[in-house]
C-alpha cells in the first residue's frame, strides 16, 4: 500500500523547514481503529498554545477510556524518554517537563506505584 519515495535534500530541508516547530505539547494521535499509517500523525496546528495541566500537556481528556489513556502515555513516554537524553538542552528540558506530566497523569488515572 505504501510507496516509499526517497527524499531529495532540497525537498527534505524544505519540508522540515515548513514543518511546525516542535510543539509545546505532544502530537495528537488519531483513534487507532481504521487509521492508516499516515493518519497516526496529524498536523499540530490545533495543539493548544499554552497547555497548563499535566492532562493538557498529555492531551488526555476526562472522558478518554483508560486503555486509550494507557496507550497514549506509553507513546509519549517512549517519545520523551528518548528526548531526555538529547544533547539539545531545550529538547531535554521539554522532555523532562513531559515526563513529569506523564507520571502525574499516570498516578491520577492508575494510582501510585
Amino acid at each position: 500500500m505504501f510507496k516509499k519515495i526517497l527524499q531529495s535534500l532540497s525537498k527534505s530541508q524544505q519540508a522540515k523547514a515548513q514543518a511546525p516547530a516542535r510543539p509545546s505539547g505532544p502530537l495528537p494521535v488519531a483513534p487507532s481503529s481504521g487509521a492508516g499509517l499516515l493518519s497516526k500523525v496529524v498536523p499540530v496546528a490545533g495543539a493548544p498554545a499554552t497547555p497548563r495541566t499535566p492532562e493538557e500537556l498529555c492531551e488526555i481528556t476526562p472522558k478518554m477510556p483508560r486503555d486509550q489513556v494507557a496507550a497514549r502515555l506509553k507513546l509519549l513516554y517512549r517519545r520523551y524518554n528518548r528526548g531526555a537524553s538529547s544533547l539539545d538542552p531545550k529538547v531535554r528540558a521539554e522532555a523532562d517537563r513531559m515526563l513529569d506530566a506523564i507520571v502525574v497523569v499516570r498516578e491520577k488515572v492508575f494510582g501510585e506505584i
Binding site: F2, L6, Q7, L99
Partner: protein, 496 residues
Amino acid sequence: MAEFVGIDLGTTLSGLAYLKPDGNPEIVPNADGERLTPSVVFFDGHEDVKLVGSAARDGGEPDRTIFQIKRHMDDPEHLVEIDGRKWTPAEISALILAKLKRDCSRIIGDINEVVITVPANFNELARKSTIAAAEMAGMKVRRLVNEPTAAAVYYAHSQGVQGRILVYDLGGGTLDVTILEVQGDGIRILTSEGARHLGGSNFDELLLDAYAEQYSRQTGARLWTDERHRRRILQATEDAKKMLSKLQRVNDTVSNDQNNGIARIDLTRDGFETMVRHMLTRTVMLVEQALDSAKLKAAEIDHVVLVGGSTRIPKVKQVLEKMFGQAPKSCGNVDECVALGAALFAKKSARIQEVCNASYGTLAMVYNARTGEEKLMNSIVIPKNTPIPCSKTQVYQTSEDNERVIEVDITQGEDEDPRYVDIIGRITLEVPPNRPKGCEVAVTFSYDENQRVRALVVDKQSGRSREVAVSYKGAGVLSEEDLKKKTVSLRQMRIE
C-alpha cells in the same frame, strides 16, 4: 597474561574482572586495595599527576576534579579544560581505564584485550569514544557489551537458571532494562531499553535539596556557597541514602562553610520514597516499554534480576515484586556483577545473540496509494531488536526529475515522526543528469557486534554507490591522528 578480561566502566564506579582457570570470574582489586574504583579523576596542580579513584573523589579541588564523565561520552562538543589543556570525555575515561589496567596488571599479568560494558542505550558516538578511550589506555577492545547483558550472563552462570530473565539495572547514572532468554548454554537477548540521567545520583540530588531545605529552615542560612562544600554534602547524602536502605530513620548533622551553625537533618525512609516516587514511576514505565518491545507480559518473565547499587533501595524491590508477582533476585553483588559478566562474556560471546538497540532508517516521503497523501516520515530499515550482526536493504525512488545529488539522512529512533528521531549521519551520492523521478535507490544499513552502524547507498540504474560508517565531528571528537598522539602522551603520564 590474562586472556579473558572484562571492564565495567561505570558512571560512578568502575571495576575489572578476569576469568580464572576454573572458568569463574573474579574482581581484581586496584592498587589502593579496592575492588571497585570511583570513576573520578583529579588533575593535581602541584605535581604532574592524575589521581583516579577514591583519592580523587574525596580530596580534590572541585574545579580540578572530574565526576561522571561517562554522562558526556555522547556529546561531540564536550571538553574539560584544566590548566589551559582541553580534555575530551574519551581522554578522561582513558585515564580511568589506564589506572585499572596498570593496577590490575600487577596481579593478573598483562592486559591487552578486553570486553568493556556500556549502557544499552549508548549511541554510536559514545560507543566509539569508549573504544577510543581503551585504545589510549593501551588496550584493544575485543567487544563492547551492554551492561545488563553482562549482568545477565553472570547471573545465568552463577545461578544456573534457564528461561526468560528481565534485568533491571539501576546504576549511578542510568537505568537499563533488558529481557533475554537462556536456553542451554545459549543466551538470546530479546530487547534492551534505557533511560539516561536516571540513577542513584539523581536520588542524591533530591536528598541534597532536602538537606539544604532543612538547614535553611533551622539556621536561616544557605548550606553551601561553593562547589567544594556542595560536593561534601552530596557525599553525605549518598551515605544517608545507603543507610535509608537499611533503616527507617536516619539523622545527620551538617554545617555550612560560613560558620552559620549546625543543623540536625532528619530523614525517614517514607520521606525518601516520596521524594523518588516519580523517578521510580519512570523506571516502571521503562520496564513496561521493554515488555511491549519483546511482546511479553509480566507473567511470562521467569526471573527478575536486580543490578546496580540503586536496586538496594527497598522500594525498588517492592515495586518490581508488585509488578511481576515474584520477588526480584539480586545478581550477587549488584555493584560487581557487570564486570564479572563482562569477563565471562569475553569467553562466551559466540553463544550470546544480541540485538540492535535502536531502529535505523532514513527520511522519506511515504506515499499512501489509497488516499493519495504523502508525508515526510522516518522510514525504518533496520527495526530495533533485530538480531546482530545484521544488514537490511530498503529500496526507495527518487522524487524529482533530473536529481543530480541524492542525499540520504541516517536516522536513529523508532518514532515515525521525523521530529522525534536523531539524524546521525548523511550520505551524498552524485548521479547522472537528465533522469526522470522514480529511479530506484537501494539503501542498506549494516549493524556490527559492537552496535556500530554502516550505511550503503546504491543507485540501481547507474550502479554508483557510496558507503560510510557513521562518524561524528565536534570539538570533543578525536581524529585518528589525534588518537595516536594522545595514546603516546597518555602512556607517559603519571596516573595514580
